[in-house]
């Protein structure tokens, strides 16, 4: 099993989110409930499976944590009372900390986008994608 970093992603994610992926029994209710799976390359329950098995490199390549809309539908439906939305956030935070530099900045936005996007969206966007 791939553990490329000093601290395993799953341990850091656990610390960030307070959620233990081992409690998941892979019913896939989260994936059935998630409204944005069409754009994801891994289904939400697969993200947890990868965490359980320590497939960190594959996880690092997945777009799913970044597509997650933090709508918490999965958390509301999970029969194991797991908060997958928090786990996704945890994964994003760990990834960002490991990454050099920022993923995008104000310069990447067109003046039109800057004009139209609400302040809050910009702030949370920077928080989500930047170091």
């Amino acid at each position: 099993m791939a553990t490329s970093n000093k601290t395993r992603l799953v341990d850091e994610m656990k610390m960030q989110s307070g959620q233990d992926p081992n409690e998941c029994y892979q019913c896939a209710k989260c994936s059935a409930a998630c409204p944005v799976t069409a754009a994801m390359d891994l289904l939400p329950h697969q993200v947890i499976r990868y965490l359980q098995l320590g497939f960190e490199e594959d996880l690092a390549k997945s777009n799913t944590p970044w597509i997650c809309a933090s709508c918490f539908t999965c958390a509301a439906r999970c029969p194991r009372d797991l908060d997958l939305a928090r786990m996704m956030e945890g994964i994003r935070l760990v990834m960002l900390r490991r990454r050099e530099g920022n993923k995008f900045g104000p310069a990447d936005l067109t003046p039109e986008q800057l004009e139209k996007l609400p302040q809050q969206a910009l702030v949370s966007g920077f928080r989500k994608y930047n170091k």
Partner: protein, 661 residues
Amino acid sequence: MPRTGVFICHCGTNIAGTVDIEKAVEASRNFPGVVHAADYRYLCSEMGQDLIKKAIVDNQLDRVVVGTCSPRMHEGTFRKAAAEAGLNPYLLEVANIREHCSWVHKDIEEATPKAISLLRAAAAKAVLNESLDAPELEVEKRALVIGGGIAGIQAAIDIAEAGYEVDVVEREPSIGGRMAQLEKTFPTLDCSACILTPKMVEAAQHPNVNLITYSEVEEVKGFVGQFDVKIRQKARSVDPVKCTGCGICYEKCPSKASSEFEMGLSKRKAIYIPFPQAVPNVPVIDRDACLYFTKGRCQICEKECPPQAIVYDQEDEIFERRYGTIIVATGFDQMNPSQYGEYGYGQHPDILTGLEFERLFNASGPTGGKVVRLSDGKPPEKVVFIQCVGSRDKARGMNYCSKICCMYTAKQAILLKEKVPDAKSYVFYIDVRTAGKGYEEFQRRAAEEYDVAYLRGQVGKIFPDGDHLVVHGVDSLSGKIIEIKADMVVLAAASIARADSPELGRIVGINSDSYHFFNEAHPKLKPVETHTAGVFIAGACQAPKDIPDTVAQASAAAVKAVGLLSKEFLKGEACTAEVNQAECSGCLYCEAVCPYSAISPVEIEERYQGGTLKRTVAEVNPALCQGCGSCTVICRSGSINLKGFSNEQILAEVDAICLQR
């Protein structure tokens, strides 16, 4: 001074591994009153017991201390051995040097002095032990079964066959329970009615069985061998002796109400029998639906009934009977899944629970045995079954597996294919659990021969789209989102305890788990016993289970009940409380704390300054007392003592441990 013998067991290496036996034996010789000390590898063996018996005789011992495992394990064994050597069994004390010492310590240097302390305490208590006699209690030779489902019916027949009288109290107008609602039964697909009805009739016709239907247990007093039970028989408004069961009344009755037996999927009359094979075949008037009771006019049934069996002014009857033993067999319910908003149960007629779907197969069911959509009466082409609705769900439902759903879903999918050959079934599941004889094979037949698509995953939402129900789910094995345009959806709703089971548990005096299923006394070795002597449990009221397990458990409970009924007398509790009435001030705090209602006030006469004085004091009924000791703790003047565990004995133990160091 009494002559005490101390016997220390090695228990193989269980005790000897962490306790220096030789040292313990030597130390024991110096305890006050000890005249003999010995050790043996396995004291509970026949040779070990003989060693104790022989020592009692040879050394004229009148007290015995055994240093062994927990008294829960072998106190009975050693007391019996002591009795065989002519000693009153209550003169023997157990020092638990295994569970309380050797098993919880690693260091022999620490465990040995602790074992010696425990032995010294037991020896100090033994000196104060007295001979005790357990009272003999009479056994009422009659059993009560609460609940007339397949569990209750089977238990009643078994008890009756053993030659004892048995009453079955069933809440509904007919016995039969859930099994009467089923069409065919896994794993052999025999028709439920064909195997249940003969049993119902056998129970009804057995001279030793007395069916008390449309009735409930209101109060249970007393104890094993002598339970005094108050039963309320609700007014049927029909004389069961006159009624011939011709059925003209419910044919003619103009008033309708929702049928409980069909779970509201169809109507029944105000005067009704719940289903055609009902036992007894005597109708009941639902007074909330009857026009005569609600509006004062109608009385058609009275006019039409050939033997004039209608009795409008019949009243509930309450009577009391004594029973030697009680079996609780009140079964289970299905959870109402409407709290799962994503499934839309209750908002669309084609979204059903498993039990509701089962009724569609039945010739006397709401569709006359046609499997059709309740919305438009058309046969379904695609049916989606969803497993674990409310089961294995610690967030919104029950943490446990309901055990029967995987199997009845496979059964229903097979039956569907037989009734509607063009139909296609899909089963969303988390795990398929089919442990049981012939079960795995049965489920595989559904998948392989009946073309049932098993999708490992769950459903996120269901929404109506024109004539269809769109089921949006996932198949986790392929990692694909699945959308099915279904005609019907069947939810395997969790099996749950009956809503009133905590109340019934309180009445009967048995406890339940956090899900309100009744607790067995031991999960492996006492599966039908409860913590209340003489009360047994059987069937789905203990945990969700299928018919084979239910019937096996019912027969097991019946054997336990018969074992009890076949005794001439029962040995009661010897270690009961005793009031020193000269010192008792009559505050009766003890009466308030006694959980067994064993204490009552009594008036005594005392000589006082030349005259006599009447005074109220407490008195213990030794037949009711279970020796829990609550009263001895509450008594302010210390005038209640528990025989075998007197205040003096316990303090002697404490002193023996504390004063030594």
